[in-house]
Symmetry: C2
Subunit: 503 residues, 2 copies
């Protein structure tokens, strides 16, 4: 049976949407990297105009009309084919949009714009009380949104579904609490270890231009394609795509701390390689779009940590690092440097956390936001609950809310259900990396030789090329033969940290 005309029209509609969204992405990227300081207000007007265009496209009744026509017709594409995925995912999108009353959507948009402004000020002034009313309003609206979207008893499921489609709170809860039970004693043992790697080698003068060169060299080596992308400077690093061959990563440089820019670039390059690996021919359609935030984060963490913080990687790159940064590095060994970039230290701030403690930061947020959404935790009790959880899980207690529950932007922006995707990313990354080692031979030997292409190709085949054709858990199970589990991540961590801390 030939492809119906309505399907072609549906694809055209989706591709036109993608064009406008890509223009929005350019305006956003430029704002964060290039915009002359005084033009912020006009940029807001430009982005508001484009937001209006996007809104008009998303609410076009043509979507439902075409989908209804196709679903009621005789044409039935094969399950998990690109065409099947197009219909399924666009229907999902249209339905989620239709279930939310217009008033609620507008209220949420307003509350989160205000929320972020209030949060930024409250954080700066370390005053949770100032943020409380705005946060309370946002939590209420997110509860309403979850109920409007629909769920089987657990409101949080409905919110999670936005970022990690089809995932359930229950499944994530089981795997993350298993992980927590393993991580807490591991971190305890590390804290008690007598062997502490010196971090002085990653501190101290790293000239920015050479950092840029080195990070670019490493990003190129692992597979980020600068013919189809860029690297620029920003305040809050991110990766964005604005075309099938235009993926831009950003970083910030710290002249006295190596890790910020270098591992930041590998992280964003990991995101970027996923975007660059999506099929260009499917650009704008679900089969050419990333599967879930958890899968996206698995790609960034895999290249940042499992590759970028591996010993084989540094056997290859350490001589370059020494020649670019003679002052801090010439006296030291590759082994010392490797230990320094893998040092574990419980801390208060998520974005500065090491690989071992990072997931505890996430689990705390995941637990707290579930309780906020269920209504079991009154919003005013958040600071105290935060302190208690940090004390119990990490043995550190923030003295201020600025270093506590005010540190992240997410909740002020209404992003409830987003945090667990960071940990899912870590777990998926470890599962994928373990399987890749099983199939591709000793990866550390390959890295030592500067060879990253086999791993890159493997991810391309197993992850990138499928777009949204499978849900995240199925995609990883197809690639690894195993359902979501915390064991590979824990094994990976112990294998690395055991020798460093002589556990």
């Amino acid at each position: 049976m030939t492809i119906p005309k309505a399907y072609q029209e549906l694809c055209e509609l989706a591709r036109e949407c993608a064009i406008v969204e890509s223009i929005d992405a350019l305006l956003g990227w430029d704002e964060q990297t290039m915009l002359p300081p005084m033009n912020g207000q006009y940029r807001a007007q430009q982005m508001k105009y484009v937001a209006g265009l996007i809104h008009n496209q998303r609410t076009n009744p043509k979507w439902t009309q075409l989908l209804d026509e196709l679903e009621n017709g005789d044409w039935r594409p094969n399950p998990n084919s690109d065409q099947h995925t197009t219909l399924k995912q666009l229907r999902r999108k249209v339905d989620r949009a239709a279930r939310q009353p217009k008033e609620l959507v507008q209220d949420l948009a307003e509350a989160t714009v205000i929320g972020q402004q209030v949060w930024a000020k409250a954080r700066k002034e370390n005053c949770f009380a100032d943020f409380l009313p705005a946060l309370r309003k946002i939590v209420e609206l997110k509860q309403q949104q979850a109920d409007a979207l629909g769920h089987k008893g657990n409101r949080y499921d409905a919110l999670l579904d936005e970022y990690e489609p089809l995932a359930t709170t229950e499944a994530i809860e089981i795997v993350l609490s298993e992980l927590k039970q393993k991580l807490v004693p591991l971190i305890q043992r590390i804290a008690e270890s007598q062997h502490r790697p010196s971090s002085s080698v990653v501190r101290g003068p790293f000239p920015i231009e050479n950092q840029r060169k080195f990070a670019t060299q490493a990003a190129t080596a692992i597979g980020f394609d600068f013919q189809r992308g860029r690297l620029d400077v920003t305040t809050h690093p991110f990766c964005t795509e604005m075309g099938p061959n235009d993926c831009r990563i950003t970083t910030r440089y710290d002249e006295v701390f190596f890790n910020t820019a270098f591992f930041g670039v590998l992280h964003e390059a990991g995101h970027g390689m996923y975007e660059q690996g999506l099929r260009s021919s499917m650009y704008g359609l679900p089969s050419g779009q990333y599967c879930s935030l958890g899968i996206h984060e698995s790609q960034s963490r895999l290249w940042e940590n499992m590759v970028g913080r591996s010993f084989g990687f540094w056997e290859h790159f350490y001589p370059s690092a020494q020649s670019l940064f003679p002052e801090p590095l010439n006296g030291g060994t590759c082994e010392e440097f490797y230990a320094a970039v893998n040092a574990v230290e419980p801390s208060l701030i998520r974005v500065e956390a090491d690989e071992a403690t990072y997931n505890l930061h996430i689990i705390i947020r995941f637990e707290l936001e579930q309780e906020l959404i269920s209504g079991n935790l009154p919003v005013e009790d958040l600071p105290q609950a935060w302190r208690q959880k940090y004390h119990d899980a990490l043995g550190v207690t923030p003295e201020t809310d600025r270093d506590g529950c005010l540190q992240d932007v997410h909740w002020s922006a209404g992003l409830f259900g987003y945090f667990p995707t960071y940990s899912l990313g870590n777990l998926y990354a470890a599962q994928l990396f373990q399987q890749a080692e099983n199939e591709l031979g000793d990866l550390q030997l390959q890295f030592r030789d500067g060879k990253f292409d086999l791993l890159h190709q493997w991810l391309n085949e197993k992850i990138y090329s499928h777009g949204q054709n499978y849900p995240a858990d199925k995609l990883v199970e197809n690639a690894t033969g195993h359902p979501l589990s915390s064991q590979p991540f824990y094994d990976y961590l112990f294998k690395k940290l055991g020798p460093i801390y002589q556990l």
Copy 2:
């Protein structure tokens, strides 16, 4: 009488147009400076989409409706007021659009897109015959366009009007042929002079990073505001604005030739200071938009040449130049350097021409394009006519059409009537500069002290702040007390070149 609601609506419509045009400008700027090489095709799709939005806005029947309502009402804003200008200029725009049949507009759009592609290839391969059919088609369509727009016997007037509103071919012809009569013998005398400044001092090595620093320092000093603008690298330098506080200039660096980037930056900064000087509060309305291309060019040439190639300027900047570029400059004097950047040498290529010969390149094109549009010069005879004119005016004859009539993009893009605005710019610049000197005292003394603000303020008051409230010739006459004339430019040139060449 209060301002009618229809006027507010008209302004809103114009401002919304400006938002979309500014987004188009960002897409264009990014394409020329930042775009990853492989994303060109998708960028074309994005720009095509935005071109569609712009087209829809320009053809919105609301324009005529609101203008009709206002013109038939009782409200009469004062002549040359902002409100009067808004009505007058928007009516002008709407009328010009209405006079052109849709089919002709589309044919022209197509013919010039193809024209530019064919031209680029023909130029590369030095084959005018390949370009001939495309150029013939464009000339025919431009003739039709001129007739559709309407004129009083001289078709060229109708085309000129697009770039230099209300200017007449006759007036420009008189002043440019006067100029030519003075320039040809001057250039002859220079060619015969025994005193030839050495140009070796502006030849190599000028490390690019230091060129960037130096040009940025100079652009800042003359008044380009980097809080409201940027400087980036591109292949074909330009200045573009995409917001009331977002004007971006571009340049290209030549490691072995000082003039390219440095005077290029001053030139674009001159354009940029005009844009930055337009009233932000009037952004998107005619009173906040540049007056004509001739006036725009007067601002770039004034800062590039009358300021940037003046002796006072170099008395101030030469020590910085020496410390940034010790290798080529440390042996030489400021006087030698000043003479080198003002050297005159008849050549074949317009964009590389010096101040004295530049206008002859323009006059040749102005004469030829008038004949093409009138039909007096058959398109196939263009190469021969070009060679003859170069021989007669500049004493040089191109051996190839690549260095002859194929060198500029303008005709392939349908830009007939554009060239004379370059010379008008030079003449206006000299008139303005002369008047500024009359009013502000010895500018060279000010430049020597690094003081450019009085001149900048004067231009702000006389030119920038008026937007389109006056036509170009009136604006300059208001500022200087004199109508358009070639005398100040010739006087300026002779005063500078006389001593250098000991004429």
